[in-house]
């Protein structure tokens, strides 16, 4: 399928899902109330739809797009179908950055949590790529990612442990479980800048990602400026992950699953997969957030919990399929 046609189709499905996510929620409306919300945006139903649900869905779309594109970029860069910001520890270290900023009382400074999460993601991204250059085996990289993720988790637990403020602790916990609840238009706008930059870098790296299909040596001899493209890919995916973590906390498995949903539609091309992965990621997060709101529980489910519940079995399935190809 042609890329533009595929993206248009996915965009239509995403628009439909986003519309559904704005329309549906804990409070149900009659047709007359929907009409009122459309005609008079400042009416009570209008406020629920446009001031509460729409920014939440917008943040879900942005976070999903960022995680989907970051996952596709990491998979292309590391030539590994199991790579994603969560599996490789980038999300965990980014979450650590956010938790540290909250614990240190920096939340009052605008952008401090976001910057701290971004810094964590960039550091983890650089470490992962350094390790990937040294250990080519996919199993070794995944194990290192597990270790980095565990270490990031341990340091985050330490931050919790040493936190003196129960409010900060509750805020950190909410962050780490991942949610787009109570987000406003400013949250979406704040996320947009680093995400746009990250996406631009990942798209610039596309030719390099495609060339890496044949391995490091072939890529180095290809005539493409691989060192620069690699930096674009790492910085881009880290920016996307950091911005997503800053906007919504840690939401796992979206970066892993989104590229696999569209892989066959772009014939596995690591360059053409970037946009469709972003759109698939957005669709996953919007639907997961809708599920989090619609599943009747005493307390609303956290988005990160929903994605992990569905994502972990999907990861196991992918690992099983990938391990067969490593043996062959």
């Amino acid at each position: 399928m042609r890329l533009t046609r595929l993206c248009k189709l996915m965009l239509a499905v995403l628009t439909l899902a986003a519309g559904l996510a704005v329309a549906l929620g804990e409070t149900s409306f009659s047709l007359a109330q929907y009409a009122e919300a459309v005609m008079r945006p400042m009416s009570p139903p209008g406020e629920v739809l446009w001031m509460i649900r729409a920014p939440r869905v917008a943040v879900a779309v942005l976070v999903g797009m960022a995680l989907g594109m970051a996952g596709a970029t990491m998979q292309g860069l590391l030539r590994n179908p199991l790579a994603d910001p969560g599996v490789l520890g980038v999300s965990a270290v980014s979450g650590l950055g956010a938790a540290f900023a909250i614990s240190a009382g920096l939340a009052v400074l605008p952008g401090a949590i976001e910057l701290s999460a971004l810094a964590g993601a960039l550091i983890a991204g650089a470490i992962v790529v350094g390790v990937a250059a040294r250990f080519r085996e996919p199993e070794a990289l995944i194990l290192f990612g597990v270790a980095l993720s565990a270490f990031g988790g341990a340091l985050t637990a330490l931050v919790f442990n040493l936190s003196r403020s129960p409010v900060a602790t509750a805020e950190m916990l909410a962050w780490l479980m991942g949610s787009v609840e109570n987000r406003d238009a400013m949250d979406a706008l704040r996320a947009l800048v680093p995400m746009a930059l990250g996406a631009a870098l990942c798209l610039r790296a596309g030719a390099g990602l495609r060339m890496l299909t044949l391995g490091e040596e072939a890529a180095r001899m290809s005539g493409l400026p691989m060192a620069r493209l690699r930096v674009y890919a790492v910085a881009g995916s880290a920016l996307l992950t950091g911005a997503a973590v800053a906007a919504s906390g840690v939401i796992g498995f979206v970066g892993l699953a989104a590229p696999h949903l569209v892989r066959s539609l772009v014939k596995d091309d690591p360059r053409r997969i970037l946009w469709p992965s972003a759109l698939a990621g957005a669709l996953l997060v919007v639907l997961a957030d809708l599920a989090a709101r619609m599943i009747p529980t005493e307390q609303e489910l956290k988005l990160g919990v929903v994605t992990a519940l569905f994502g972990a079995p999907a990861f196991a399935l992918l690992a099983w399929r990938a391990s067969r190809s490593w043996r062959s």
């Binding site: 299909t213 044949l214 391995g215 040596e217 072939a218 005539g223 493409l224 014939k267 596995d268 091309d269």
Partner: protein
Amino acid sequence: MSALWTLVDLSARQGRKTVVEDATFSVKPGELVGVIGPNGAGKTSLLRAGLGLLPLLRGEARLSGQAVTSLASTARARLVGYLPQERRVAWNVPARMVAALGATDLPEAEADAVAVERLARVGAGDLVDRGVLDMSGGERAKVLLARLLATRAPLLVADEPVAGLDPDAQLLTLDLLRGEVARGAGVVVTLHDLGLAARCCDRIVVVSKGRAVADAPPREALSRGVLADVFSLDGELIETAAGPVLAARRVS
């Protein structure tokens, strides 16, 4: 005729180990040069050092007269196409996309046209849209060879292009590379089959312990002395109607 590739007293290291020592040889247009040597002798390291993929300790490597260390990656890619030993393809992309990766200097549509033509040339014209991971090892090797040919570079360097291929596919690969030589390219291949090297190459460079210990036409390069000293073989090349073949046994 000026050389496409010149190595002069080249020494290089990998990590802390010196893997190439004082290697000297050159490749001219219209020449097929075989690089042979036992496992671990340093054949791949020699190619990699000469292409600027390993840090050099001493000496120099030149591509069409220009020091390889001073060449930008785009300029280097115009002068040499390289088929590395690693054959793992990460994704199940179609053959035409793999072959088109040899022509990144062209717009996408032109690169695709070159790719399809080269795939037809290597006998993989019916595989253009098939995923490379759905192919046999031999079919995948053809696609990777098409990628090398798609570079259209004056010098083609192939590291073990016939490894793991059946005899027919080995001969086809070397015939295709000879075709490039006939078009005026210089071609360098590393090979393990000494008989095949003797039959197909114009010149042979023998590598032992990181050194180029012989550089001569096949009969000279594969003398009894070299076979014994470098390969621990007691044998010789015997002329047949199909070209020279190696008759040898291990030195006990």
